[in-house]
């Protein structure tokens, strides 16, 4: 029943001598990377949300489904998350000095007009998440973390709380409100500042990466890992949403328009 190799593994588990970590090679200098995610089809129209709680307040805001936000003018896809992918053995790069002043900053995440603002919050493990409720109705903010302890505090109207997340999360973590079930947000927690989320035009930029070879990973809430893009008419597969880049000192690598197929986005 138990194969030989697993028995061997069980033995290894008992007495493994671990090998030292490979050094992380970093060239001198700093460079940036930018690009834009573009919907390769007619922009979908976001459906209205059936507001069934606190109608008199939340019903005023013409709430829309924001799980896929495509700009009707330039087809840019908002809320695509791009971050530095590090293997188990890789130590995170020492951040560029420009990131020092935000290392222990507060990152705002607000319950605002019965939706989360921003939809995607980017947080470093050294920073503090400030969860606020700007509304006149009560909310609760349920964050189902994996590496950190999950939380689900009530945020009374007009108040806020501060929360730390000391471990990085491998995947963006869903944030929800139990009182208003349509409310969805995402929290990204990393131990380095090299992440970005696309704006309303689909554009992202990660500034001042150490020069050298890096792997980035791309994720969106409806597609999961963005596994394929089209660039200059040519389709490229990104396994697990990962692609490699070379950052050169003093330069900004512009990836241009990255076309994403409507087929990538589905209910998951």
């Amino acid at each position: 029943m138990i194969s030989k190799r697993v028995l061997f593994a069980a033995l290894l588990l008992l007495c493994s001598s671990l090998l030292s970590s490979a050094a992380n090679v970093q060239a001198a200098g700093w460079g940036s990377i930018k690009g834009r995610f573009v919907y390769d089809g007619a922009p979908p129209k976001a459906g209205p949300i059936a507001v069934n709680k606190d109608r008199e307040f939340c019903g005023k805001f013409n709430l829309r489904d924001e799980s896929l936000v495509v700009n009707p003018e330039n087809r840019g896809v908002a809320n695509v998350i791009v971050y530095l992918y590090l293997g188990r053995r890789d130590t995170p790069p020492t951040p560029h000095p420009s990131y020092e002043k935000t290392a222990d900053a507060e990152v705002m995440f607000s319950n605002d007009k019965c939706r989360f603002s921003p939809r995607v919050a980017l947080l470093r493990t050294t920073q503090t998440l400030k969860i606020a409720n700007a509304d006149t109705v009560g909310h609760n903010t349920k964050i189902d973390c994996f590496s950190n302890a999950p939380i689900n505090p009530i945020i009374p109207a007009g108040s806020d709380i501060e929360q730390q997340f000391s471990a990085q999360e491998r995947l963006p973590t869903r944030v929800s409100c139990s009182i208003h079930p349509w409310m969805t947000g995402w929290l990204v927690v990393k131990n380095n500042p090299y992440f970005a989320v696309t704006d309303e035009n689909g554009a992202f930029e990660i500034k001042n990466l150490p020069a050298g070879k890096w792997t980035l990973q791309v994720w969106q809430e409806k597609s999961g890992y963005v596994k394929e893009v089209k660039k200059g008419g040519k389709a490229t597969k990104w396994k697990k949403g990962r692609f490699k880049i070379t950052v050169k000192d003093g330069q900004t690598e512009n990836m241009g328009d990255l076309l994403v197929s409507p087929k990538l986005f589905k209910d998951r």
């Binding site: 302890a149 505090p153 009530i154």
Partner: protein
């Protein structure tokens, strides 16, 4: 004659099946693997094999070995043995075995996945231990239940559900079952973490643990991943005892009515906001469309997706209901301290949030007093009288 013949054949077949019935095995968490869509068949087999090497089988349990942790301080193999294995009652002098299968498996399943043969007929469904999540405990959200928390549930049962009390079991039997439930929960959590690791890190053709001899460095890396995950899960259980939320004493106050009145104000106010889910009349009808975390795993709001999971063995999703506070039935225990913990910490795995920090312990005690007074209000005891009690439903 023909009938008797058929019956005889049937009995033979049954006997044969009995003699050759396969050894009990833990089921793979196919539902979670389906959610993390990137797990191949050979990777699933790989996970099963690693789990057998670490945790053994339902008949022969094992506890994982870790280089820098004494696992027996969390689960002891000696204790597990009384609960593991098939039910054996042949000899009164022999050590008892099979307690879990005798008392628990018909609802919670041999794997602890909450899918025993009777499970689908119950409402609520029996607990699936494999997330490591417990609702009724003294620790905050994210903390594992303490040993005492689990014991309380075994001894008292869970009122309002099919979970009975096991007060009549001997002390060593209870102890063994508590440890066995922890063992199944830890095994289940480790399994989930492996599935997540594979989905996030591995290419389709790679395994969590490769054939040895191919690349010693790679295998050492993989062993480290397995050890890290196992030790992370185990340490959560090891730390639980120190995490129990302290309960300051009740504000001694002769005027109980004043405390109830204050609790009522908080219940309907926007700080505690209980009314939003438990409803204007506390019948638990304020928010009836949500689901618990076990159910959310299968995308209950999208029927075509939920069907995929049901085909893999998940049960038909049901909404979670906020508790009807007028019945006086408290699943996590009826002592004031139990209700204090529920309000202070929230209920993990459910939409019930934790009280905001601005609510002081006295406020929480006022809420406890109000909640405990609700079953005795006139409204709780009879039919509604008329318009006066009509409320908005969603």
């Amino acid at each position: 004659m023909g009938r008797a013949w058929a019956a005889a054949v049937g009995v033979c077949l049954l006997l044969q099946a009995g003699c050759n019935s396969p050894e009990a095995a833990f089921h793979f968490n196919a539902v979670y693997a389906h959610k993390q869509s990137g797990v191949t068949k050979s990777q699933a087999k790989n996970v099963k094999e690693i789990l057998i090497a670490q945790f053994g089988t339902p008949d022969e349990p094992a506890i994982p070995a870790l280089p820098d942790m004494d696992v027996s301080s969390v689960i002891s193999l000696d204790r597990l043995k009384m609960s593991a294995g098939p039910v054996e009652r042949t000899d009164d002098t022999a050590p008892r075995r099979g307690l879990y299968r005798e008392h628990c498996a018909h609802c919670h399943g041999v794997t602890g996945d909450g899918r025993g043969p009777t499970a689908r007929f119950l409402n609520p469904y029996p607990r699936d231990y494999r997330r490591g999540t417990s609702k009724f405990k003294s620790t905050p959200v994210g903390g594992r239940p303490t040993h005492a928390d689990l014991k309380r549930i075994l001894v008292d049962g869970i009122p309002g559900t099919a979970m009975p009390s096991f007060k009549l079991l001997a002390a060593d039997e209870l102890e063994s079952l508590i440890q066995y439930v922890k063992y199944l929960a830890i095994r289940g959590e480790v399994e989930r973490s492996y599935i997540l690791e594979i989905d996030a890190e591995l290419e389709e053709e790679d395994l969590l643990l490769n054939v040895p001899g191919e690349d010693a460095e790679q295998v050492a890396d993989q062993v480290e991943v397995i050890q890290d995950i196992t030790s992370m899960v185990l340490s959560r259980w090891a730390n639980a005892a120190g995490q129990a939320t302290e309960v300051p004493s009740h504000p001694v106050d002769d005027d109980k009515l004043a405390s109830i009145t204050r609790g009522r104000e908080l219940f309907f106010g926007t700080t505690a906001n209980c009314v939003k889910c438990h409803g204007d009349t506390a019948l638990g009808d304020g928010q009836t469309t949500d689901y618990d975390e076990w159910t959310k795993e299968i995308d209950p709001t999208k029927p075509h997706l939920a069907a995929e999971y049901v085909a893999l063995g998940a049960f038909t999703p049901r909404n979670i209901r906020p508790r009807n506070l007028r019945q006086g039935v408290y699943r996590g225990g009826r002592r004031p301290v139990d209700i204090y913990w529920r309000i202070k910490n929230g209920i993990e795995g459910t939409p019930m949030p934790a009280a905001p920090a601005t609510l002081r312990s006295d406020d929480i005690w006022h809420l406890v007093d109000y909640v405990r007074s609700l079953p005795y209000e006139a409204l709780s005891e009879g039919r509604t009288k008329g318009r006066e009690f009509q409320r908005e439903r969603n």
